[in-house]
């Protein structure tokens, strides 16, 4: 990953931001490397936008420091920092043409008119709108406005690009198209980029690294694969993708007990026997094909519900008829046919040891089935 090869570009240390009695950021520290594409991901109110605005200097943190390119920028106003920004609303100047919008930051730098002209054309071509320069923003579609805002933010060649939920206001098709375009553009010009989003799919497809936030703290920082495959906390496990949460007990080294069945788990820490824990597995990780009672980590379960999702069926299964041990697993269409799987039928499934995640006892398992 880029993170390991590039040099440190932005460093936030122990950021705290308070709005009155409310703590929006609580001791957040983070390092971002040059040319990296980083996503701040989390539910609304998690502090991701607050963190972005602190980095931009729009809402300066209460305590803590921020360094950008080796310079302490903690207290600087936005005008003395080095960044371009795109907002969810785009904030295009409605009374200026696309061309004037993109040229806005250049005109102020005392650039010569032909140079400005050339740079604006270059940028409009970069975002794929070379012949829209004379239009006003109200005459453009949402996706086009988005690109103009991007061109305007890049015009002055800032060292850092900040994107605040840039795709949220667009419809699904345009959004997925622009996702690829923005990512490709970022890769091409190599600008360090931070994007705030609440959409996990967006973060997983675009980011080099994801910063998952909740309640003003960072839950996990990692590549999309790390975040998805090795969630560091129950919150991350639940927030990204779909996850089953099952009540279990520790049962010695690398072993847990689930509904009376002992299962091997890769790489759990040692714990006292029989302490309450939560065992997690994703529905798509539950092994369903070629499993019998003798397979490793096999368990017998009853199909309680079936949900058709197109290419797969998502089954809700009970172990020993115990609702606390209810979990979901994906069955392919083939398997459904071959084994005549139906509601009320008993099946054998297995939980692969490398796919199980174990967390300490969770009193509050938000989103658990």
């Amino acid at each position: 990953m880029t993170a390991t090869t590039s040099s440190l570009y932005l460093k936030a240390e122990k950021l705290v931001k308070k709005f009155g009695n409310f703590t929006a950021l609580n001791d957040v520290s983070l390092e971002i490397f040059e040319s990296e594409f980083v996503c701040f991901l989390g539910p609304s109110g998690c502090g991701k936008t607050t963190l972005l605005r602190a980095i931009a200097g729009l809402d300066i943190q209460t305590t803590g420091t921020i360094e950008q390119a080796g310079k302490d920028i903690s207290a600087l106003p936005p005008s003395e920092r080095d960044f371009g920004i795109v907002f969810q609303s785009y904030a295009l100047f409605p009374n200026l043409t696309v061309h004037r919008n993109v040229a806005y930051g250049l005109e102020n730098k005392g650039m010569l008119k032909p140079d400005i002209e050339a740079r604006v054309m270059e940028l409009l071509e970069l975002v794929g709108l070379p012949d829209q320069g004379d239009k006003y923003s109200a005459q453009l579609s949402g996706g086009q406005q988005q690109r103009v805002a991007l061109a305007r933010a890049l015009a002055t060649s800032p060292g850092l690009l900040l994107l605040d939920e840039p795709l949220s206001a667009l419809d699904a098709k345009v959004r997925s198209h622009l996702r690829h375009e923005i990512k490709a553009l970022q890769h091409k010009i190599g600008i360090t980029t931070i994007m705030v989003t609440h959409d996990q799919e967006e973060a997983l497809t675009m980011a080099d690294r994801i910063v998952v936030m909740n309640h003003g703290v960072i839950e996990q920082v990692g590549t999309p694969n790390e975040i998805y495959d090795h969630p560091a906390s129950p919150f991350v496990a639940d927030f990204i993708g779909t996850m089953n949460f099952l009540d279990g007990q520790t049962a010695g080294d690398n072993c847990v007990a689930l509904g009376g069945v002992n299962m091997r788990v890769d790489g759990t820490q040692q714990a006292d026997d029989s302490s309450e824990i939560t065992v997690c597995i994703r529905p798509e990780d539950v092994a369903t094909r070629g499993v019998d009672a003798n397979s490793e980590n096999a368990i017998e379960a009853t199909v309680a519900e079936l949900e058709f999702l197109g290419s797969v069926h998502r089954a809700t299964l009970d172990i020993n008829g115990d609702r606390a041990l209810r979990f979901r697993a994906d069955f392919s269409a083939n398997l459904m046919r071959d084994h005549a799987i139906a509601q009320g039928k008993s099946v054998h499934v297995a939980f692969p040891p490398d796919r199980l995640h174990v967390f300490g006892d969770l009193t509050d398992k938000a989103g658990a089935p």
Binding site: K14, P77, P78, Y104, N108, A138
Partner: protein, 569 residues
């Protein structure tokens, strides 16, 4: 490579955001406008307050003046009179304006915009004018004096009729705004649930406009209790607080008692102001951005009834305007009604002159230009300055005070403050600039609120974007904010212009022979018995205000077409 960082402050210490040069500019201008309001409003108000506790020699005597006020029946009965007239007027005008607004927004009657235009005419009149027209209709030589069944026009009856006409358009405007926010989805829901028309009216319509009604009531209350023009012409022996201030100061030169009456008048005005603010805030909260606008469906009987109602009200307003117009051109009312321009020869009249008319134009022009610039910049800075919460809070408060201060109180306060020999600003006394300053301050609040509303509709991130592009805020202000807000800016300038033309209350204490104003000339000519020339001057004001308004509409339409091309796809 990780470059060694410049020494950062130790962790855990609070970050003190650096104030940039631009922030300083914003703060300095903001403080400048706040100082302006301090000098032109707060200091004068303090001067009038302290005067009410002093003798004419300036010796502090505590509450003696107030004791004198409350032990002189002729004076304190005015409180009762003022409240009586004001509340009766509110009880008449608010339901009438409600019905009129209902007709305009919830019926399918024809000629809506015509009736709206007629209903708003009184805004262009000094309040003296409807009063003078009533004299011609119901006075001793009135056309239809029998309609009062032998009751005297001069007194509460005349004042109530006159005030009702004067405040009607102001109350109507508030009702129209409240009604236009109706959500069609609520009406559909009521219909689907089987509610009848009457039930829908009481469960959907009325609750939807309840805060608008409260606000309309208090605005009506403030306008009537502080109005000076109507009771001046029609008061007769019926004393009211507003006319008492004038009588004490101009008639008896008892400035201290004038100050006391002013303070007494200030109390209900301030109370009504706060009640109105609370109501307005709630009304805004009712607004949902997802509301679907209500489209009335034709109901012939109902639409007919509404049309009849509007015709009656429209006829009354046109009759008042028509009477004043007719009287101003009649040779010698009521004996010789042939056409004559004699009454427009103001230079021959006692207390009137054409100069006063041109002074009024000058005042209105300066007020519109300077006032709009100050108000809009002030509103922008209050909304957009970063940090500096205390300064912005104080400024926000200062901007709201003028609405609570009756014009007469402000004008009298100016005498005490600017005519004080020790005041360096005293050179302004009896000049055009003090009239401009006083008028801007007097009408500051409504203009400020219009500007704030327009600014709040702008994307809040414009400033963030331009600072990220290293463009200074003033450049964005002139290149983006002002052009985008141009419609609101033109509205503000029009509002200030019209009010500067029609106002009497504050400037009546401040003019000099060289800066006499048309509205004041009206007052003086009427005082001297030259009623027809007063009506003529009133018509001139209405005509000019209407003409300027027309030009303003045409100009702004042309201007908008050129500068607001982006509004149309």
């Amino acid at each position: 490579m990780i470059t060694p960082s410049i020494k950062a402050p130790p962790l855990g210490t609070a970050i003190k955001p650096k104030v940039s040069g631009e922030d300083w500019i914003m703060r300095v201008v903001l403080i400048g406008i706040a100082l302006y309001l301090l000098i032109t409003m707060v200091f004068p108000l303090y001067a009038i307050l302290s005067k009410s506790f002093q003798t004419d020699k300036g010796v502090f005597i505590g509450l003696d003046n107030y004791i004198k006020f409350f032990s002189t029946p002729a004076l304190f009965w005015s409180i009762q009179n003022s409240f009586f007239v004001t509340i009766i007027t509110c009880l008449i005008v608010v339901p009438v304006a409600f019905t009129f607004a209902y007709a305009l927004t919830r019926s399918c009657m024809p000629f809506k915009s015509l009736f709206k235009g007629i209903a708003l005419i009184p805004i262009l009149m000094p309040s003296l004018l409807p009063a003078i027209a009533l004299v011609y209709l119901f006075g001793a030589q009135g056309l239809i004096k029998g309609a009062l069944l032998g009751h005297d026009l001069y007194g509460p009856i005349g004042i109530i009729i006159g005030e009702s006409i004067y405040v009607f358009p102001h109350v109507l405007t508030i009702m129209l705004i409240a009604m236009s926010t109706a959500d069609a989805r609520l009406y559909e829901a009521a219909q689907v649930l089987g509610a009848g028309k009457i039930k829908t009216f009481f469960t959907v319509t009325l609750p939807g406009v309840r805060y608008g009604l409260v606000s309309a009531f208090f605005v009506c209350f403030t306008l009537v209790i502080t109005d000076f023009g109507v009771p001046k012409v029609l008061g007769g022996k019926f004393n009211m607080l507003a006319t008492d201030i004038y009588k004490q100061v101009v008639g008896r030169l008892d400035f201290e008692m004038g100050a006391v009456v002013g303070m007494v008048l200030l109390i209900p005005a301030v109370f009504a102001f706060f009640a109105d603010r609370i109501a307005q805030r709630r009304q805004v909260a009712l607004l949902s951005s997802r509301a679907v606008p209500y489209e009335p469906k034709p109901t012939p009987a109902f639409d007919m009834a509404m049309l009849t109602f509007c015709i009656v009200i429209g006829a009354i307003i046109l009759a008042v305007l028509g009477t004043a117009c007719f009287a101003s051109f009649a040779k010698f009312w009521p004996y010789n009604l042939s056409f004559s321009l004699n009454h427009y020869d103001f230079d021959l009249m006692d207390g009137g002159s054409w100069d006063s008319f041109f002074n009024t134009l000058e005042l209105a022009a300066w007020t519109a230009v300077i006032g709009t610039a100050a108000v809009f910049s002030g509103a922008y800075l209050v909304e957009k300055t970063k940090g500096f919460e205390t300064g912005r809070g104080i400024m926000q408060f200062l901007c709201m005070i003028p609405m609570a201060v009756p014009g007469l109180v402000l004008g009298l306060a100016y005498i005490f403050f600017f005519n004080n020999p020790g005041n360096p600003f005293g050179i302004l006394y009896h000049t055009m600039p003090i009239l401009v300053i006083c008028t801007i301050t007097h009408f500051y609040t409504v203009a400020h609120l219009t500007a704030v509303t327009a600014l709040k509709q702008m994307d809040p991130e414009f400033e963030a974007v331009s600072s990220s592009l290293k463009v200074p805020f003033y450049r964005t202000f002139f290149r983006v904010t002002v052009p985008v807000c141009l419609p609101a800016i033109l509205d503000i300038s029009m509002y200030l212009f019209v009010n500067a033309m029609t106002t009497v209350s504050a400037v009546v204490f401040l003019y000099s022979p060289d800066t006499a104003l048309a509205s004041v000339a009206m007052l003086n000519m009427d005082d001297a018995g030259d009623t027809a020339p007063a009506a003529a001057m009133g018509m001139l004001i209405v005509g000019t205000a209407a003409g300027v308004r027309l030009v303003h509409t045409i100009l702004s339409r042309g201007l908008l077409r050129r500068t607001q091309a982006w509004r149309y796809r």
